[in-house]
């Protein structure tokens, strides 16, 4: 008696054996190491990130200190008439004063916890209904990738997936020191932070490049089809002020 796993692996090995020479020759024709970046290097990473994030449809802001960042966030929130927010644990967002700002603006903080062990489907649905009308999601970010205007966001305890996904508006706080040039460099930085197996302790990483969009109707670009229709990125560059 063989298992499906054994049967499939045996068939795959037989296939490989037939074409081994061809496949091995092809795999050796080029190096496999990724380039750290693929576009010509820009002089100013921050300017490149801003330009590319805008091109992807996001709204980046360069803020010289926490106060400027909070001002920018306050403006965005009041323009949108936000009254409830999904947020990461405040300690996980590198911006002191954010909690006070939300309190002062009387924005209700919603509990993003939907996975409670042993709960029923009905309870899970009830949790989801409780957060479905959130006006905004506020998160931090691990990295910004300059050449594509991308945010890298590793989720985990206190850092929910739905925060960046569920509301029509997403505000992300990114320290300028976390900007890297390209995707290859981003993976290096993530390994540096989380260890060589970056998923050992974390089940989810998302690279976000602009707001949720679709071109499925007549190839006309429309934002916000499932995820946030607006993405605001607060780049906190405290060194510049010093």
């Amino acid at each position: 008696m063989t298992t499906p796993r054994e049967r499939m692996l045996a068939a795959i090995r037989a296939g490989i054996n037939t074409n081994r020479a061809f496949l091995e020759a092809e795999m050796q024709k080029a190096p496999h190491t990724p380039p750290p970046h693929v576009h010509p290097p820009a002089d100013d990473l921050q300017a490149q990130f801003v330009e590319e994030a805008q091109r992807a449809g996001a709204f980046p802001y360069i803020c010289a200190d926490a106060e400027a960042a909070l001002d920018a966030i306050q403006k965005i929130l009041s323009e949108h008439g936000a009254n409830s927010a999904l947020t990461w644990d405040f300690a996980q967002i590198d911006l002191p004063g954010l909690e006070a700002l939300l309190n002062q603006m009387q924005i209700t903080r919603l509990d993003t916890t939907v996975t409670v062990c042993g709960e029923t489907q009905a309870q899970r649905v009830a949790h989801l209904h409780a957060i479905e009308h959130a006006s905004v999601g506020i998160s931090g970010a691990d990295l910004g990738i300059a050449e594509s205007g991308t945010l890298a966001v590793m989720t985990g305890p206190g850092r929910g997936r739905l925060t960046t996904l569920f509301a029509p508006l997403h505000i992300a706080v990114l320290p300028a020191s976390r900007l890297v040039r390209g995707l290859g460099a981003a993976f290096d930085a993530l390994r540096h932070q989380y260890g060589s197996d970056i998923f050992a302790e974390h089940a989810n990483l998302t690279l976000i490049t602009g707001p949720s969009r679709t071109g499925d109707i007549e190839m006309t670009l429309t934002t916000g089809v499932h995820g946030p229709g607006e993405l605001h990125i607060i780049v906190l560059n405290e060194e510049e002020a010093a």
Partner: protein, 475 residues
């Protein structure tokens, strides 16, 4: 043999007569091609990156047994479950049994060619399970009861008026031709589906062997909702989609979105490794990975192994003059365009007219030129024709015409001359705009059964050269 009566030719004829489709193709195909060219153009070294991508895909295949074993072991170590599905039925059965065991009532799904390939929705519906497609294009065609016409733009054949009408009828939307209104309507309706669903089914763009990570790429974010809102996540992955490492992936991601839509990265590139971890506020409690063979190991051992390097970017479809003329439905299967014409006969050799698909090509080479991993599509199409003739699966007229093509193909200089000649002839002789009814001998046998799309006035390489150096950015 009354070849003209075969559905394939009828479908081609239908496509050519369908003015909505023709309009959409005319409008949209050049945009796809231009966006892709502009994106690749800006790279430091496009050629080197594509060589790397090809070498990495070759490695995945050369070590497929080892990499899949590692992937499966890692997923299991992270608390996930793995199903080794030799065919589509095994995959469908696993999911149906899982759904029944877990009393699943409602399933949301993000776009997945593998699940289309195995007719998963029909399999699950036979078990009274409701499956909702959540990619906007897929949702539209699910509502209208059709099949996708393009790998990455499933509803490209429909106008906004048709979609507006459909939403009015099925979703009770007020009459409108405003696309953002339609999109908002879909968001509202689908969001409720997400919230209610107890199972989410996704495809997998790449599986990373070393870390058990599944990589999903979308612009809408529907895959993210599918994989984080419901309690159970089931991912279906064709076995060939594995890569060894995060480093390998970094190369593949650099070419995937650029080739598909001209974006540097898609909006959401999401990595998932097993079910939610202790202390995480959200994510699925259960994760199941289905490794789907369904003929792939057979292809791996055939003369067409290279076809398994495909990363489903859709670039070869957009570049293909035949696809540009007839769209995706005419191919009659899940996979269309040049890559569809190669893998459909290999995956489903028992479908009667599938062996005519390799003839739906002018062998102009544009597909291979566009392919980020340089798959030798024209060469394989030609060999598939030979196989079909040998197996007695195509008509004699086609065989003669095919031989003529083959003769010119064997001599590149002659082929280029022939290509140019044909290009001139088709433009001179072309009757109905863009379509030629009769090719001069020795190619007449080829047009006996089909209209022949006129060659593009510029060849792909000429168009490429013309676009090279333009500084217009893709949207």
């Amino acid at each position: 043999m009354a070849t003209q009566m075969l559905p394939f030719y009828d479908r081609v004829e239908d496509a050519l007569q369908n003015s909505t489709l023709q309009h959409a193709l005319e409008r949209n195909m050049p945009r796809f091609v231009a966006l892709r060219a502009q994106a690749l153009n800006k790279l430091i070294d496009e050629a080197a990156l594509r060589d790397q991508a090809r070498a990495i895909r070759a490695k995945s295949l050369a070590r497929l047994d080892e990499l899949l074993t590692r992937l499966a072991d890692t997923v299991e170590a992270r608390g996930g479950h793995v199903c080794w599905a030799t065919d589509g039925k095994a995959a469908g059965q696993y999911i149906a049994e899982l759904a029944q065991r877990q009393a699943v009532k409602s399933i949301v799904k993000s776009k997945s060619m593998a699940s289309e390939e195995i007719h998963l929705n029909a399999q699950l519906e036979a078990h009274s399970l409701e499956v909702i497609e959540t990619d906007l294009g897929e949702y539209i065609i699910q509502l209208s009861g059709e099949t996708p016409s393009h790998i990455i733009a499933p509803a490209i054949h429909m106008t906004r008026q048709e979609i507006g009408q459909l939403f009015q009828e099925k979703l009770g939307m007020e009459p409108t031709e405003d696309i953002p209104t339609m999109t908002r309507t879909a968001r509202r309706v689908l969001r409720q589906r997400f919230v209610q669903a107890d199972m989410g089914i996704s495809g997998v763009n790449f599986g990373i062997a070393e870390s058990g990570g599944m990589v999903l790429v979308t612009n809408e974010g529907n895959a993210d909702l599918t994989t984080s809102v419901p309690r159970i996540h089931v991912a279906i992955m064709g076995i060939e989609r594995v890569v060894e490492s995060l480093d390998d992936l970094a190369v593949m991601l650099q070419v995937l979105a650029r080739s598909a839509t001209g974006q540097k990265l898609s909006v959401y590139t999401t990595f998932l490794s097993g079910p939610t971890r202790p202390g995480e506020p959200d994510g699925p409690e259960e994760f199941h990975l289905i490794l789907l063979d369904n003929g792939r190991s057979r292809i791996l051992g055939s003369a067409y192994a290279e076809a398994l390097m495909c990363i489903r970017c859709g670039a070869c479809l957009n570049a293909c003059p035949v696809y540009q003329s007839i769209g995706g439905h005419a191919y009659g299967g899940v996979y269309s365009g040049p890559i569809g014409s190669v893998i459909s006969p290999l995956l489903q050799p028992d479908v009667p007219d599938v062996h005519q698909l390799p003839y739906a090509s002018t062998l102009c080479g544009a597909c291979q030129e566009a392919c980020p991993v340089r798959i030798a599509l024209p060469d394989m199409l030609l060999r598939l024709r030979g196989d079909a003739v040998q197996a007695g699966k195509v008509a004699p007229g086609e065989q003669a015409a095919m031989t003529a093509w083959q003769a010119t193909m064997n001599n590149p200089a002659l082929y280029r001359a022939g290509g140019t000649m044909a290009s001139i002839i088709t433009r001179l002789v072309g009757g109905r705009e863009g379509v030629l009814k009769q090719l001069p001998p020795p190619l007449a046998g080829w047009t006996q059964h089909r209209d022949f799309p006129t060659f593009a006035k510029q060849s792909f390489s000429e168009r490429w050269a013309a676009q090279h150096g333009t500084d217009e950015e893709p949207q």
